[in-house]
């Protein structure tokens, strides 16, 4: 279906065997990236932002995220499990963090490293960027990769508002690799495996906006690892050794909605949930809202605990992380962290590596590169839209009448697919009119 250059690739896939073509995913998609063709959902590469809303919505579990083979870890002598705190939020608080981690070690990993260990350095990177760009009033956090892509395709005028810094997992993988190499490991013997709560983070590793090299060797879906660990936790071991870590309350809360923004000076805003993000970006683009400062944005409701690959309820997971954060506070982890010999500085190499040189606008609305041609198409589209019934029934395989109008002018669909314009028989026409009133219009426009 897509024509021309493909600049995005995705981790979300449709299982044609399970897909019923029920249109549920298509109507949920925020970028109208899905069409029904041959009775199955088809995702357009350049429009999809990997938000995962389609997968959450699918009643047939027909949309899945392709993960790397777990056996891949065997290729490395040093096998690092790069885990976000969202993962421990999945488990009942009766399980100690070290017991969960000891299960990961038993599964074959040799090292555990939490992404949130990099919070202090990430904050410094954000602050540097904001200080270097006094001309920008509203900064958007680059934390949620789906938000960055959404901005590229739907709100291209806002690409410069996004802090041009790569994802925390990129920094974390560099830090742990360096640490292991300082201890004598060879670079090629180290494999870093990220445990992902969502599709967007996989896409960000595999097909980064920055176009730069990743240090992550593989990505494992969080639900897959959760099931494995949960089975082992029942014979949970009392001998589990704590890992040197001293995550602070602030670090643990980072993936939660509001957990990031609150740490920055000046005004900050925390926007979570797809609809809220869309509304806020819309207003920001129109300058209908004045929001100087830092905007944290998460596509998933409640932040990463709402990710499509998490197993437990997001509100429960949030509470669990809050509980652990309080526990870490009682244990005075922040003091522990300050007094540890751990080096929290940023090397010039990391600063350079973490930079995103350019976030390109990739408008999905633009009809043609040639203005005169686009103008003709837009005029025609407006006419077609008027002729369509406007009930967004999706029977044509497009999510809305507006989307069908666009498909028609782009040459991807025909007007005769509209059941209102092209009713099968007099009887079906009468039946339609009984339900929708007199909406069946002539298809003069298309003839």
């Amino acid at each position: 279906m897509p024509t021309g250059e493909i600049y995005f690739r995705h981790s979300l896939r449709v299982n044609d065997y399970l897909c019923q073509g029920c249109t549920t995913c298509m109507r949920t998609c925020p970028t109208a990236a899905i069409r029904i063709r041959g009775g199955k959902a088809v995702i357009s590469d350049n429009k999809c932002v990997d938000c995962g809303e389609c997968m959450k919505a699918c009643p047939h579990k027909a949309i899945y995220i392709k993960q790397d083979d777990f056996g891949l870890i065997e290729n490395y002598r040093y096998r690092v499990c790069l885990v976000p705190t969202t993962f421990i939020g999945q488990f009942d608080t009766k399980y100690k963090t070290k017991a969960i981690y000891s299960c990961l070690l038993k599964l074959g990993f040799t090292h555990i490293y939490e992404v949130e260990h990099e919070v202090p350095r990430m904050m410094e990177l954000y602050n540097r960027y904001m200080e270097d760009h006094p001309e920008i009033s509203t900064f958007i956090s680059p934390y949620c990769p789906a938000v960055t892509r959404l901005i590229q395709v739907r709100f291209p005028s806002l690409v410069d508002n996004v802090i041009h810094v790569r994802a925390p997992l990129e920094l974390a993988s560099r830090v742990i690799v360096k640490r292991l190499m300082d201890d004598g490991a060879r670079r090629e013997s180290i494999g870093v495996f990220y445990v992902t709560p969502c599709a967007a983070k996989i896409a960000a590793v595999k097909y980064p906006v920055s176009g730069k090299e990743t240090y992550v060797s593989g990505v494992i879906n969080m639900d897959f690892l959760y099931n494995k660990v949960l089975l082992m936790l029942h014979d949970s071991d009392k001998n589990a050794q704590p890992i040197n870590h001293a995550l602070t309350a602030r670090d643990v809360m980072w993936p939660l909605a509001g957990g990031e923004a609150v740490n920055f000076k000046g005004y900050q805003y925390a926007v979570d949930g797809l609809q809220n993000v869309l509304n806020f970006l819309e207003k920001l683009e129109d300058e209908a809202v004045d929001a100087p400062g830092l905007v944290e944005m998460r596509i998933c409701d409640q932040g990463c605990v709402g990710g499509v690959l998490t197993t437990n309820d997001r509100f429960v997971a949030r509470k669990r992380l809050e509980y652990r954060a309080r526990l870490f506070e009682r244990l005075e982890n922040s003091k522990l962290r300050e007094s540890s010999n751990e080096d929290n500085t940023l090397t010039p190499e990391w600063i350079k590596d973490m930079e995103i040189p350019d976030i390109k606008p990739r408008s999905i609305y633009k009809l043609n590169d040639n203005y005169a041609e686009a103008f003709k198409m837009a005029e025609r589209m407006k006419k077609i839209e008027k002729a369509l019934p406007g009930v967004n029934c999706s029977a044509c395989g497009a999510p809305s009448c507006a989307a069908l109008a666009e498909d028609i002018v782009r040459g991807d669909a025909n007007a005769d697919t509209c059941v209102f314009i092209n009713p099968l028989s007099k009887t079906s026409k009468d039946a339609m009119n009984r339900i929708w009133g007199d909406r069946i219009k002539s298809n003069k426009e298309e003839q």
Binding site: Y365, K366, A378, E379
Partner: protein
């Protein structure tokens, strides 16, 4: 391409529909984001002005190959002193309007800043017609 919208007095909640709709078309045309922003901001300000001060009105937008012409025509009290109204911070908005976050006296100056051509026809006790033009190239 032509668009027409209605303006309802005091309805701040629904204001912005005209600019959203125009924005969608400009994005389809691949208009430069800077010009899209200028257009949308100017149109929104003009609409808010009419919502805040007038009794009602209409918005007419025409887009052609080289420019966008937006005409916001209202029936209202008119502007007694245009020179004053063009000054930043000068406002006759009611306390209620100010309480909603509008009426800071930036409307007309902001429109001026964001358009290439601005014409204001006003008659006391009859109404105001604001004609704004943004050139695309």
């Amino acid at each position: 391409m032509h668009y027409t919208f209605k303006i309802e007095r005091g309805n701040f909640t629904d204001a912005g529909q005209a600019s959203s709709s125009v924005k969608r078309t400009l994005k389809q045309l691949g208009v430069d984001p800077v010009n899209i922003k200028r257009t949308v901001v100017a149109l929104f300000e003009a609409e808010i002005n009419a919502v805040a001060h007038a009794y009602g009105g209409t918005i007419d937008v025409d887009i052609d190959g080289e420019k966008i012409v937006m005409v916001v025509a209202d029936e209202g009290p008119g502007i007694p002193n245009i020179d004053l109204a063009m000054q930043e911070g000068w406002s006759t908005a009611s306390p209620q309007v100010r309480e909603m976050g509008y009426g800071a006296g930036m409307g007309l100056p902001n429109i001026k800043k964001n358009t290439d051509d601005l014409k204001i026809d006003t008659k006391i006790g009859v109404g105001t017609t604001v004609t704004m033009t943004v050139y695309l190239t």
